[in-house]
Symmetry: none
Subunit: 291 residues, 2 copies
């Protein structure tokens, strides 16, 4: 799952500017590309390299790793590899703090560069599981502790939602198995559900997304028309499920229904005739795909 910078509205930069921003010489940048394929810049009509948003992050990360004593080849391997378990957990977790700080400070620029770096370094699934969703959970708990206002929570959700939704182009097309995704009435947190959808998409599924706050009856109607292989309903709090228990049970009789969310939510699944999904969105997608 990669974003191609060609069609991005974001203007690209040439090698000199990248050099200034990242603090790496132009010759070095070209050498890294030639020798390790760290970058794959697009080209201007005349052949000039044009770098996208993630490239500055990659160059910075290279410098960082080299400064920490790794060889250039090693750094390149760490930066270029889309997914890599070795030692990816620790450094990724370090991004959570800065991301949270930027979000609660309503600082769009910083938040976006952290996200650029994270999405450039990690696979989408890792980025979501290790950084983005933990950061949003932290924002949520700061709000429930009264440390920040709803404004900050809204700002953070909207910014992160924008980044994630940008990756959803075409997730409803193709020939794979189809899943219908929605949050029950009253549930406004759809970020984890988006991540879930993206993870499913990566596994070849077709995703139809109804989003937050969707009445159970209309989920059932839509399911009747689309005939998905699975209907996934996600909620953060048990109340939303309890309030709709009857309608969900009815839905479960006509569709394969899966419940996602914290353990108290999924615990209610069997009683309603639904299947529980692991609390982690990415794990959940894997489980659904496997089952």
């Amino acid at each position: 799952m990669s974003v191609d910078p060609e069609n991005s509205p974001e203007p690209r930069i040439r090698i000199g500017e990248l050099s200034r921003r990242a603090g790496v010489g132009v010759d070095t940048l070209r050498a890294w590309e030639r020798r390790y394929e760290v970058f794959r810049p697009s080209r201007s009509p005349g052949g000039f390299r044009l770098y996208g948003p993630g490239d500055e992050a990659r160059a910075r990360r290279m410098s960082e790793l080299i400064a920490e004593g790794h060889s250039t080849a090693e750094a390149a391997r760490a930066v270029v590899r889309p997914a890599g378990p070795p030692a990816a957990g620790a450094p990724a977790a370090e991004e959570v703090g800065p991301l949270v700080e930027a979000l609660v400070a309503l600082d769009e620029g910083t938040a976006n560069s952290v996200l650029d770096r994270v999405l450039a370094t990690l696979s989408l699934e890792q980025a979501s599981a290790l950084v983005i969703l933990p950061a949003m959970r932290e924002v949520g708990s700061r709000w429930s502790r009264g440390e920040i206002g709803i404004a900050e929570e809204h700002f953070a959700s909207n910014l992160v939602r924008a980044r994630l939704l940008a990756l959803t182009r075409g997730w409803g097309s193709g020939g794979g198995r189809r899943a219908l995704l929605a949050c029950p009435p009253g549930e406004k947190h759809d970020l984890a559900l988006i991540v879930f959808g993206l993870a499913l998409r990566d596994r070849g599924w077709r995703v139809t997304f109804l989003g937050a706050d969707t009445p159970t009856g209309t989920i059932e109607e839509a399911a009747g028309r689309l005939r998905p292989e699975a209907v996934v309903v996600a909620a953060l709090s048990l109340e939303r499920i309890e309030a709709e228990a009857e309608a969900l049970a009815s839905l479960a009789r006509s569709q394969r229904l899966l419940l996602a969310g914290p353990t108290e939510v999924t615990a209610a699944a069997r009683r309603l005739g639904a299947e529980p999904l692991p609390p982690d969105a990415v794990e959940g997608a894997a489980a659904l795909d496997a089952g």
Copy 2:
């Protein structure tokens, strides 16, 4: 919105005046037009270029992007939403129907291709005003007539929101005047507000977006911290405003508050100490920028 700049009552200026206002040489302006089609000025009977209000913003934004280190060509790519055939009003309106049909059929592929075509043909402002927002209004009214369910409405909002949010990258950065945008509690339709924010961004503003369903008190807190030049609150129904009348009036005492929405909403503005904005999102942005 001034769809057809030819007939707009807006003052039209010649190249020298634009050069002075935007701080860009006349030769440079002509070169940008010739080489990148950044402008499409109309002409006087004698052949003089006549520029509209958006052109100054475009020129300014070009300078800004170039100062940030982007090449002129890339700045141009980011600034031009390739304007389609002149007088594109009629053909554009023809896209509304197919878009609505695709959306209510939960057909992501078709909906996205219509949007692709529309965004490739028209400026963002035209696409919003002539196609996207009308289509969403049509979806909304079909729902209120009971012809479609909330599922379709949700699907449509989410798909369109994803496309629009993808264009918001960086709208909070830069050096322009800052605006704080939010919908009042209970108001869930933020699409027009996003369009409004994008139109402001095109005019050089910085946008901080709190989104749907934001308590007035937290708007006030955020405004206290960000000190924006304008706070814009948008609602589709008067009820949302009335329910928050007192809080909004209080907000209007400490901030420059503008109300956007249908006429019955903006009619309530003056009573609350706020300023009304035109119902059309793009016109509204132009008005705020001009005032």
